[in-house]
Symmetry: C2
Subunit: 303 residues, 2 copies
């Protein structure tokens, strides 16, 4: 089934204990698109400046499953830039600099050819823009969104309007707590479950993720990764693997979502083994299925 | 099979967002003993002062599965006291006060009747005392120990000697990192696996636990608890459920340890629903089995 993603596209510089990568391709929608492309054709909607050359975007152009029909290269604008530095403990990072550039201008437009998209992921951006983009679509089967601390802080009303429109929200534990004012992440998840139509998925980084569905909660483990080079994009890769699998299966029941979360964890755990898209571009679906099988074998217990 | 535990016994005062409990029964060996008593007979070895009345110790006296033959009530001494205060986020706590009292004096002695103990848990105390107590035992089948930041900081040599003598170490993620200097908790686990005889079990609080066995790592989930009244003793209850099940089964293969960890998570998730031993003393084995079944049903995915 068709899967559409909108969100940031950036030129990233990342420093981690493993090294430094300067001016590499990044952004939420990029990681999402690449991760989901292993499962289903993906339609990417976003804006870059004319400093984003075809050569720079080569990993996207080279991927037959990513449709760039919604990628606007805006003349005279500059691409969003982010520079982050991870601590020795890579669960902590500082933002060295952010330049909104084209992300501070008018948002992207969804091309007519994408109106019939059935699965949609609204990656983190201003919630008013997320609502507007959603309004440009026909009648999608399943819509999920992400957000960030900035919008929870400054655009709460818009964000709550958005949440009421989506089938699922995929956000991290700190965001879930901030949004609900509830320190217990399980209570926070059930609280958010009253707002969205169907599912709340709370990402806990290396500790996995929680799925809230009605009055039930399920736990998806994080893969115990030894080789963490660059965690940038892991959360978006998780969402990409998850939504990609749902679109591939064209199913959104709890059982399918639970397996989709494991696929998300599998892709994310591979993605962070190198900078930017470097690991994802090496992968085959078989590599992801092998990681999924490994996750299955190390999870749980025989009763 | 017989299970012996040595460790602290305290008079605790705990403040949490859910309320305050003054001068209640606590200490690592107490939580461990009560948690493991659902699975197997437990032998408790420890020292209290004569301010610890039989009335105060009533939950232990009332538990037919806990053998108090190794409990020394030392005349003229005072019991260890701890006062802790949890933050609104109960993953954070401050120590308001600690009075070592009898724990600053000579350690306990293992009674002759306990020399033949087959399963042994050396809960956190000075590693020299842990080594000495282990030396007082015959030839136990399986010995596990815990430790704390203080000893990692001040008694590293003794602690490393202890670790080389035990079959398993059960410690939390911060301790594993501190002990190895390795920020990646998975690398830290494998590092410690080179020191102990068999298993490294790293507790991650609400996020579950990791088991390191040779070159393999397994993940045990944390139960998504909504009702956290007092996390004090959850880690010791986890260890108690785990070791209790191993002793009950008289088996320590990886498969049994994985199920034992799930039992540990089940008991711990119930324990934190009230202050001190208040929840544990209400429980039956059937309650724990029901929680285990719930953990099984919310873990993993069908592949």
């Amino acid at each position: 089934m068709s899967l559409l993603v909108t969100g940031s596209i950036g030129i990233d510089t990342v420093e981690s204990p493993a090294g430094k990568a300067v001016d590499t391709l990044g952004g939420s929608s990029i990681y999402f698109a690449y991760a989901s492309s292993f499962f289903t054709p993906v339609r990417l909607v976003g804006v870059v400046g004319d400093d984003c050359t075809p050569e720079f975007l080569k990993p996207l152009h080279d991927n037959a499953n990513i449709d760039l029909g919604g990628l606007e290269v805006r003349a005279g604008s500059k691409t969003f830039r982010w520079h982050g530095k991870y601590h020795e403990d890579v669960n902590e990072r500082d933002t060295v600099s952010v330049d909104l550039n084209v992300h501070g201008e008018e948002g992207p437009t969804i091309p007519h050819a994408f109106y019939d998209s059935e699965y949609v992921f609204l990656a983190n951006t201003h919630p008013d823009l997320q609502i507007e983009l959603l309004g440009q679509l026909g009648c999608p089967t399943f819509v999920a969104c992400d957000t960030m601390d900035l919008w929870i802080d400054t655009e709460r009303d818009s964000l709550m309007k958005l949440l009421a429109k989506v089938d699922a929200v995929i956000l991290n534990d700190a965001e879930a707590r901030q949004l609900t004012g509830e320190m217990n992440v399980v209570k926070a998840g059930f609280e958010l479950g009253k707002v969205v139509k169907q599912y709340v998925i709370i990402k806990k980084g290396e500790h996995g993720a929680l799925l809230f569905a009605g009055d039930e909660v399920f736990v998806s483990i994080g893969y115990p990764a030894r080789n963490v080079v660059d965690p940038t994009g892991a959360g978006d890769s998780f969402a990409g693997g998850l939504m990609g699998y749902l679109a591939e299966m064209d199913a959104t029941d709890v059982k399918t979502v639970r397996k989709a979360m494991a696929y998300g964890a599998a892709v994310a755990s591979l993605e962070l083994e190198d900078f930017s898209l470097d690991r994802l571009t090496e992968l085959s679906r078989a590599d992801i299925d092998a990681r999924l099988a490994e996750i299955a074998s190390i999870t749980g217990f025989e009763d």
